[in-house]
């Protein structure tokens, strides 16, 4: 480099910039957290019956941290709930109709409508817990199937306690048909629903289909009536407002709300207003804040509105101002449980938006709005929501890549996740073939895909693929192979301290001590893998079936293509595209454990199987030498070692094959494979027994598709190559999923690489880093989270959390404030950084 001497890399934390007084105020106000006078915390609303159920606990079955709190939360909401005077015909209606009416009543006539100072977007409070609207009989049946003996809760608890993972029918995690709302308005949706209803024969009108459509028709009028309330409020505020400029804004807002979201949007401001109100009501409908309800390709579908407003003279900066207000609102999702902590109980939300990406015939779709959004992200960062995702591909222009690299350089780690189109699309094409839906996903439209939540690839407006509903620890199958189908260590009830009796849970695959070859061992592993997948499918079925029978979301169903056509709620499999995603956790730990068994017992004969099993039962205590061998000498996935990666591919192919075999019984949704580990790889490390790769119980498992912690010793390119290889790599035989790319995980796989900041220290290095990203697009996975941290800064942040309040780290595509994650996770992040050698 010339001139400047960046000898010392300063520990600077990204700060927001170029914010107007309006946005600064809103942003600062947001970060006051509990101290705010206004917030968007849950309010609870009941039908007032003694049997009412308010808390939809199954939504939280994939959040083990709350298992202990389920009854408390449920009871608490019940206690805090205000009763709604219900319509006189209420109990004569079907369940979906009751739900639709109740939601509308609560949102329009009970939840207060407010406009925050300076805000340009209406729609403030939306976090609600609503009645399930059950009759006494429904309530009893529901409770029986959820909390009764062998109910969904018992199954879920068993599954988690015994180290399999977690499973539950969860809300959100889809991209609703927002583009349609902008284009035709809710009026268009309403009229179309009416037409569908009228086309039903009389028997169907009175039957389930008719009930569902009637519920959706009611739901479709909710945004209209709520917007009317807000329009009225804006008009009143405009009259009272002393500042003429603000008064004019409020009048404009009133004008917008008189039009949208009921009618089609025309201007950029109307489009954002329509989008926000439509979006927030999904969170109201599902009683869950920001659960991966994602915006999709927002720079694409908002472009016509921006172009119209721009041509009418809208200022670039004012458009950004509107977007920044939108940003503020997305973050208020976290207020739901604000009293439980800074941002609520978890950072596990994910209103994802997607920028750029490929269009038809491989052309690039980057546009003006792409850059506008990037500016907004840049100026608002650090902030948690919405979560941006940038789609890159072979034809991404250098201008965009340079901007991406600059933004990564300016933040601590990239302020967005990068999705790679070719690899992702190969996976989407695969799922189309597997489920015989090539009429819905094919070469002419696959580029319209977009990720939800963190990085889970789906189609848009017609797809609910349950992307976080099952999280399975593949490692459990290795444990069961070693023991012949029994838990390695007994489950101990944390409250009673009493160990459970160990039973024969998995198939009896024989005494592993008698296995003479690794092939025999792997055969048994195959059988155990089939079993744990079967088990996860059964566990999931319990909550899926209950949701389908009892917990309709008619409002959301209006926004998912297929529901209207089939007359089925989205919870009943109404969406055109309808997978349940099985997310595999502990992949690298599993592969490395198998590699260790092979190395220690069979290839090198360093120990016998019985010694290895004893070491695991003893949690490696007293077997330190063997443990060191397992950690340091056995081959590892993630080092671009062809032999190790070949076994990794075998493991991958096996569990994918088993996953595709299953469908939900109640809703006929096919299972598809993916790899996302959220924070389970940390938490379940305390649940699962020691593993053959040298990990002790209590140490973390591996994260998503990443190599095991500490195994990434050959740097980012080898790490990347391993990931690409196990996903399928490329083929030259014309049998690729997308062009020559293969990808066995249609959902995608979370991959995080932490880079040393020196990689972006000057323009020359930035070019090299850019080349790495281009290389990743060829050799790597579907999605990459780039972290750019140095251990010293993190250690300092551990010691002085007060000074690093806004320091963002990203884990599995999630950004979390570093000082708010636990010490163990902090240590893990530090360890990863320290191990990077390049």
């Amino acid at each position: 480099m010339n001139g400047s001497l960046a000898e010392k890399i300063e520990h600077k934390i990204k700060v927001p910039r170029k914010l107007s007084p309006r946005i600064s105020w809103l942003r600062d106000y947001y970060f006051q957290g509990c101290k705010r006078n206004w917030n968007n915390e849950y309010t609870a609303w009941s039908t007032g019956t003694p049997w009412d159920v308010l808390y939809q606990e199954m939504t939280y079955y994939i959040v083990p941290e709350v298992y202990m709190l389920i009854d408390t939360l449920g009871g608490g909401y019940q206690q805090a709930a205000r009763n709604i005077d219900i319509h006189s015909d209420f109990w004569t209606w079907s369940l979906p109709e009751r739900k639709a009416w109740f939601l509308k009543e609560v949102m329009v006539n009970h939840v207060p409508q407010e406009i925050l100072p300076g805000d340009l977007i209406a729609g403030a409070r939306f976090n609600i817990i609503t009645s399930t609207c059950f009759t006494k009989k429904e309530s009893a049946a529901y409770n029986q199937r959820v909390t009764g003996k062998n109910g969904a809760r018992t199954k879920m608890k068993w599954f988690h306690d015994h180290g399999y993972g977690n499973a539950g029918a969860t809300s959100g995690h889809l991209i609703p048909g927002y583009e349609r709302v902008l284009k035709v308005g809710w009026k268009g949706i309403y009229e179309s629903l009416k037409t569908s209803f009228n086309q039903l024969d009389l028997r169907d009108q009175k039957g389930r289909k008719g009930s569902q459509l009637k519920a959706m028709i009611t739901a479709a009028t909710l945004p209209r009536d709520l917007a009317k309330q807000y329009a009225h409020l804006c008009t009143c505020l405009a009259t009272e407002e002393a500042d003429p400029e603000r008064s004019a804004e409020l009048s404009r807002m009133a004008g917008n709300l008189k039009k949208v979201p009921w009618k089609p949007a025309r201007t950029f401001w109307e489009a954002i207003q329509s989008l926000w109100l439509t979006h927030m009501l999904i969170m109201s409908d599902e009683n869950y804040p920001g659960p991966g309800v994602s915006f999709g390709r927002i720079d694409q579908y908002l472009l016509p509105y921006w172009e119209y407003s721009r041509d009418q003279g809208m200022d670039w900066e004012f458009a950004k101002e509107i977007l920044k207000c939108f940003w503020f609102h997305c973050n208020t999702a976290y207020d739901a449980m604000i009293r439980n902590g800074n941002q609520g109980i978890t950072a596990g939300f994910g209103q994802l938006l997607t920028l750029s990406g490929m269009g038809k015939n491989g052309i690039d779709m980057t546009n003006e709005l792409t850059y506008m959004f990037l500016e907004v992200i840049d100026e608002m960062t650090p902030i948690l929501e919405p979560k941006p995702n940038i789609r890159l591909h072979r034809n991404t222009p250098d201008e965009l890549l340079d901007k991406v690299i600059d933004m990564i350089s300016d933040s601590q780690g990239s302020p967005f996740l990068i999705n790679f189109d070719e690899r992702s699309m190969a996976g989407m094409m695969l799922e189309a073939r597997k489920a015989n839906i090539t009429h819905l996903i094919n070469a002419s439209n696959v580029h319209e895909y977009a990720p939800v939540g963190c990085l889970e690839n789906t189609m848009v407006g017609n797809d609910r693929s349950g992307t976080v509903d099952i999280n399975l620890n593949l490692l459990k199958a290795v444990e069961l192979t070693l023991t012949g189908g029994r838990d390695m260590i007994p489950f101990v009830d944390p409250m009673k301290g009493k160990p459970e009796k160990i039973r024969q849970d998995g198939p009896s695959t024989g005494d592993s001590k008698t296995f003479e070859t690794f092939e025999t061992f792997f055969k048994a592993y195959e059988e155990q893998t089939a079993y744990i997948i079967q088990k996860s499918v059964e566990t999931y079925e319990a909550s899926e079936a209950v949701r389908a029978d009892f917990l309709p979301t008619p409002y959301l169903s209006c926004l998912v293509k297929g529901c209207q056509e089939k007359g089925l709620d989205v919870t009943q499999g109404g969406a055109e595209i309808n997978f349940v995603t099985l997310e595999a956790v502990t992949y690298a730990t599993t592969v490395d454990s198998l590699l260790a068994v092979k190395y220690l017992v069979f290839d090198q004969q360093i120990c016998s199987m019985s010694e290895l099993i004893q070491a695991l039962r003893d949690n490696w205590q007293g077997h330190e030498k063997l443990q060191a061998m397992a950690i340091n000498r056995a081959p590892k996935y993630g080092q671009d070692d062809d032999i190790a990666d070949a076994l990794a591919k075998q493991v991958m192919d096996l569990w994918c094959r088993e996953t595709w075999r299953h469908k939900t019984r109640s809703t006929q949704r096919r299972f598809r494979p993916g790899m996302l580990s959220w924070n389970y790889w940390a938490g379940d490390g305390y649940v699962m027994a020691a593993s053959a790769n040298g990990r002790t119980k209590g140490q973390f498992l591996s994260n998503a598709i990443c190599p095991s912690s500490g195994a990434d010793i050959k740097g980012p390119t080898s790490n990347t190559n391993s990931v690409g290889k196990v996903l399928g790599g490329k083929t030259s035989d014309g049998g690729g999923g997308w062009r020559d790319y293969l990808n066995c995980l249609p959902n995608g796989a979370s991959h995080t690489i932490t880079f040393n900041p020196s990689i972006i220290k000057d323009p020359e290095h930035k070019q090299k880093f850019k080349a790495f990203i281009k290389g990743y697009a060829e050799n790597g996975g579907t999605a990459l989270q780039i972290n750019m941290l140095d251990p010293e800064m993190l250690k300092d942040a551990q010691k002085n959390p007060g000074d690093y309040r806004h320091l963002l780290v990203r884990i599995t595509g999630y950004n979390a404030y570093f000082t708010t994650v636990g010490k163990e996770l902090q240590d893990e992040v530090i360890e990863r950084v320290s191990h990077c050698r390049f």
């Binding site: 480099m1 063997l626 080898s718 090299k768 060829e778 050799n779």
Partner: protein, 326 residues
């Protein structure tokens, strides 16, 4: 070293290197050097023979190694495993047995085909970045037969190759390698002959002659395409205005317009532990890094020697990545 050897002794293979030539590179560090610079950042690269070292933080004190050594070169001292260098022949038996990889063998034999396979794994990154493979060391010209064959095969694949040399070698060795190198990275460490001898143990006359030889070769051949000069900035040694000005003037006089880049590489102290591990003392042990003013003055000196100032580049030694650190 047998010049027609089909195996080469490799110290380390570093992937995604950003510092050894253009683009992203895989750098192969060969073991054995013809110089022995007192500041050397890779002291384990000097000896052509395999060596063992012990990494304190990895050791679990299982004592497995003690029984493995036929030469009884290992013993347990209060500070840890002690290696008697007069007895150790680098057979690696202890390394193979060490459960925790606390003992490492420095220098392994690689067959050409395996090495080619290994470096080609990053082909796509080379292509996207205009990078490639760099042979470095140690001194790659000491294994000219093997290295020549290796880079020949790499370039036959259309991949950029760079020869990183200290220049202390025979014309014959150089001539074997030059046809297959896309770029030559050539060190001029010290312009003063006496000082050069004192610092490196060798005269610099042959080095400068070789450099002129390389420059002439480049003028008359398709390959190599380019020549870069690298100079380490070592405090109280090479980091003097006199030396930098001297090197610059020499370049201006002898290599007029032929140098694409002159890199001034700052001293770093990240290799301190390597000396301890090899049982060596390092005279730069307590030297601190060059300060900014000093580097600036050297840069200014370099740019005002009559060469094109744009070719002068500085690479920082205090960067956090501990380049080439084992």
């Amino acid at each position: 070293m047998d010049p027609s050897s089909t195996t080469g002794r490799v110290l380390e293979i570093q992937r995604m290197s950003t510092e050894d030539g253009p683009g992203l590179r895989t750098t192969v560090f060969f073991k054995g050097c013809s110089l022995s610079c007192s500041w050397c950042h890779n002291p384990e690269s000097i000896s052509p023979h395999p060596q063992i070292h012990w990494i304190d933080s990895r050791c679990i004190a299982c004592k497995t190694c003690l029984d493995m050594c036929a030469k009884v070169a290992l013993s347990l001292a209060p500070e840890g495993i002690r290696i008697d260098r007069s007895l150790c022949d680098g057979c690696g038996a202890c390394v193979d047995a060490c459960p925790s990889t606390a003992l490492e063998l420095l220098g392994r034999q690689w067959r050409t085909a395996d090495l080619v396979h290994e470096v080609l794994k990053d082909r796509v990154y080379f292509e996207k970045s205009g990078g490639g493979v760099t042979v470095s060391g140690g001194e790659p010209t000491l294994q000219s037969g093997f290295v020549s064959d290796f880079i020949k095969q790499i370039r036959a694949q259309g991949i950029h190759t760079a020869l990183d040399t200290c220049g202390s070698c025979s014309h014959k060795a150089l001539d074997k390698l030059l046809p297959h190198a896309t770029l030559v990275l050539f060190d001029i460490k010290e312009i003063d002959t006496n000082k050069h001898r004192a610092f490196t143990g060798s005269n610099n006359r042959i080095i400068l002659e070789n450099l002129i030889h390389v420059s002439r070769y480049i003028k008359t051949h398709l390959y190599p395409e380019g020549l870069w000069i690298r100079t380490p900035l070592v405090p109280d040694a090479t980091a003097t205005i006199q030396n930098i000005s001297g090197i610059g003037s020499w370049i201006a006089e002898h290599l007029e317009g032929q140098i694409k880049r002159w890199e001034l590489c700052s001293f770093n102290n990240l290799c301190r532990d390597k000396y301890t591990r090899l049982g060596l003392t390092w005279q730069f042990q307590d030297k601190s890094l060059l300060n900014e003013d000093h580097i600036n003055s050297l840069l200014t000196a370099a740019k005002t020697t009559g060469i094109d100032p744009d070719i002068v580049h500085w690479t920082g030694a205090a960067r956090l990545d501990g380049r080439r650190e084992a």
